[in-house]
């Protein structure tokens, strides 16, 4: 009987990331077929609704792009931190803070027609997201507090802050006590990018962020230092790269991206501040970042795929009658299979000859 053993790859094969992602998608499709069958639906009809229907109309494509924007933006920011082993899982909170900061400007300057208002909102959102993530960086550097837990708890606090503001200070005084702000004026909302869809200019910000992330990670010295620090902290320290700096950079970049995603929502499809400003983009973006192999280009594809699953899920509800749970299960399966497949990025299976254990041990000792 043949035995297999995991062996670390000495060098990365260029094709491996594609093979791994392909494998994860294939496994998800197989498991998804089973899921459709449980619901008594044909897998063909199910997958058509999920992956083809949304792409058959300009509106559908627009919706996918609309979803893709915040996922892409946040995931690019998070991936930089993740590669430095800074685990910011609180992008949802940083997004909320960004949305709040932008909304304060939009509400305070309601009626203004200045073209400066929107850029100011973007900057405010970015700073607010950075500040919220900065708390975690400060606590990690000064108090050694685990950033996974701090960023997550800051998200819960951000949500309560949002609830407080929309039921109180930022509530529309003419809105019959309903927890939402006034509708933003045109100067405080992103212009549409494609007529007839809801895609707005904030999508461009996500692509700008992608280019910046690519330059930073693949072509710059600070980015290189950051990654080395993540892969081999001891070596980085030895080479004089600061661990604390990595914490700051990793978290602040993630916070800035999430904050901008927040203004993209309130000044985009929502046009106001309300209780539900994000259907969990901050958490979904973590999935997106991993699915994209923490690589700026990979994330473009993974965010598009994830957005397609979201939108396709809504299509499948209406045209095939699949419940919304299927969308959630799909996302979970995809990440699960990806994480399993990703093993083969760093290791490969090597066949070991079947020999009695004692003999094998002896052989190893000799070798």
């Amino acid at each position: 009987m043949a035995r297999y053993r995991l062996e670390a790859r000495t060098e990365r094969s260029a094709a491996a990331p594609f093979l791994v992602t392909g494998m994860a998608i294939l496994l998800t499709l197989v498991a998804g077929s089973g899921l459709f069958l449980i619901y008594g639906k044909s897998p063909v009809a199910g997958f058509t609704a999920f992956f083809i229907e949304p792409l058959q109309s300009a509106y559908g494509i627009g919706e996918v792009l609309l979803k893709m924007g915040p996922l892409l933006l946040i995931a690019q920011g998070l991936a930089i931190g993740f590669r430095a082993r800074i685990w910011n899982i609180g992008a949802e909170g940083q997004l909320i803070l960004g949305a709040i900061a932008a909304s304060v400007l939009a509400i305070y300057f309601d009626g203004s027609t200045s073209w400066l208002l929107l850029p100011a909102m973007v900057v405010a959102a970015m700073l607010a997201g950075m500040a919220w993530a900065g708390i975690a960086a400060w606590l990690r550097n000064s108090f050694n507090a685990n950033e996974i837990l701090v960023t997550f708890m800051l998200s819960s606090i951000a949500l309560q802050l949002l609830y407080y503001l929309v039921t109180g200070p930022l509530r529309d005084p003419m809105g019959f006590n309903f927890p939402q702000s006034i509708t933003f004026s045109p100067a405080a909302t992103f212009p549409l990018l494609i007529e007839g869809t809801r895609v707005n200019v904030s999508l461009l910000l996500a692509f700008v962020a992608t280019v910046l992330a690519w330059i930073y990670m693949q072509r710059s010295l600070p980015g290189y230092k950051l990654v080395v620090g993540g892969l081999a902290p001891q070596a980085a320290l030895y080479a004089g790269f600061s661990d604390k700096r990595a914490v700051w950079v990793g978290l602040l970049i993630g916070g800035a991206a999430a904050g901008i995603a927040g203004v993209g929502e309130v000044a985009g499809p929502l046009g106001m501040l309300q209780r539900n400003i994000s259907p969990g983009y901050g958490y979904a973006a973590i999935i997106v970042a991993f699915l994209g192999g923490l690589h700026p280009i990979g994330i473009v594809f993974s965010s598009a795929l994830m957005a397609l699953i979201y939108v396709g899920g809504d299509f499948a509800r209406l045209s095939v009658g699949l419940p919304s749970a299927v969308t959630t299960i799909f996302q979970g399966l995809l990440l699960t299979f990806y994480l399993a497949s990703a093993l083969f990025l760093q290791y490969r299976l090597r066949r070991v000859d079947a020999r009695p254990p004692v003999q094998a041990a002896a052989a190893e000792g000799a070798g």
Binding site: I38, F176, F178
Partner: protein
């Protein structure tokens, strides 16, 4: 495969079919009507009543209509997509069943003048965008009368969703109805700031019971958790939306029901006839849109007689529950003796009557 497991799988399949739709082979002359609900239909609560209305439309028009529904659509950026997709699939009428869909619905209505919209519980209208509400403050007055009759402690507790005018108005008439049958009644409120949080609703009910409330009012809660908690604690309970007798066989005092059927049917007919308008519908007892069912047998004959006479007056349009003299929580007179509140003031009501101890949060 074991028996329970098969049952589970079967049930899963059956359930999705129940809500699903068949897009295939649609005759072109059918009026297509899409329904969007904010919560799962289940078999109680807000979405359930809306879905009952959908069924009434199907029953009334038969082959002339085709309806389809999507449940559990959160108020937020995703709601617009579901509406748009319904429009893309050729819906002639779209019913959007939650306050938070208002702005997205209006935007779409402006883009698609061919589609008629029915919106639940909003305050904006357009030519092809009508909204609908029910005068639940009428049925809550009746529920309040019953509560005043049975309460021994003189304290009533309300588990309420958001402090929007509709809810504030219902609490007011609930208190006024109770004060009619027992002048010393006071009312305590817990604001959940949620349509849907079963555990917290249930905890709120118990906290009110601990503060002496012996009748609990489950106001716009989408699950029966308050009702079951009251049954367990042995105090009377009143609820909105649908009959919840089965969740509290011994302690259900009354269920306030809503019937959207007649309104939906009227709207669909208007749309078919091509004379849809931006009506702001506000149906009450007189229209058969609201009612009170499952009144507890613990109410005495005299209590029932009084309740029946008030219901008759409301149906005849001769009695408005918000009729002066009414003073607010601060003792300021809001309505002089004999004066009834007008509809506009009622729609935007932002004050609570004397006897309600909790304030509107701000």
């Amino acid at each position: 495969m074991t028996a329970p497991k098969r049952r589970l799988l079967g049930a899963l399949a059956a359930g999705t079919l129940a809500l699903g739709l068949a897009t295939s082979a649609i005759a072109e002359d059918k009026t297509k009507i899409g329904f969007i609900y904010p919560s799962p239909v289940g078999d109680v609560g807000w979405a359930y009543r809306l879905d009952e209305g959908r069924k009434a439309v199907e029953a009334h028009f038969g082959d002339k209509v085709e309806t389809f529904a999507v449940e559990n659509v959160p108020e937020g950026p995703d709601a617009a997509r579901v509406m748009n997709q319904m429009a893309a699939q050729g819906a002639d009428i779209i019913m959007i069943g939650s306050f938070g869909y208002m702005n997205d619905g209006l935007k779409l209505a402006a883009q698609k003048p061919d589609i008629d919209f029915m919106h639940a519980s909003g305050y904006k209208t357009a030519d092809n965008f009508s909204n609908f509400q029910t005068r639940n403050y009428e049925s809550s007055y009746i529920a309040g009368m019953a509560a005043g009759d049975v309460s021994k402690s003189g304290v009533l507790g309300v588990v309420a969703a958001y402090p929007i005018p509709e809810v504030v108005g219902i609490i007011n008439t609930f208190a006024l109805g109770a004060q009619r049958t027992n002048p010393d009644i006071t009312v305590k409120v817990v604001w959940l700031n949620s349509w849907f949080n079963p555990s917290k609703a249930q905890e709120s009910a118990r906290s009110l019971i601990a503060q002496d409330a012996d009748v609990i009012f489950s106001l716009y809660q989408d699950t029966p958790s308050v009702v079951t908690a009251a049954e367990e604690e042995g105090v009377y309970v009143v609820n909105t939306s649908s009959d919840m007798k089965k969740y509290a066989p011994n302690h259900l005092l009354a269920s306030m029901t809503t019937d959207w059927g007649p309104y939906f049917i009227d709207r669909v007919q208007k749309s078919m006839d091509g004379n849809y308008d931006g009506l702001a519908y506000w149906g009450g007892m007189a229209d058969g849109a609201v009612g009170v069912v499952s009144l507890s047998p613990d109410l005495t004959k005299e209590d029932m007689a009084e309740i029946d006479s008030v219901i008759a007056e409301m149906k005849a349009g001769t009695f408005h529950p918000m009729t002066g003299p009414i003073v607010d929580q601060d003792g300021e007179e809001k309505l002089a003796a004999g004066e009834s509140i007008d509809d506009d003031s009622m729609r935007g009501i932002d004050w609570l009557v004397k006897g309600v101890e909790t304030r509107i949060p701000n």
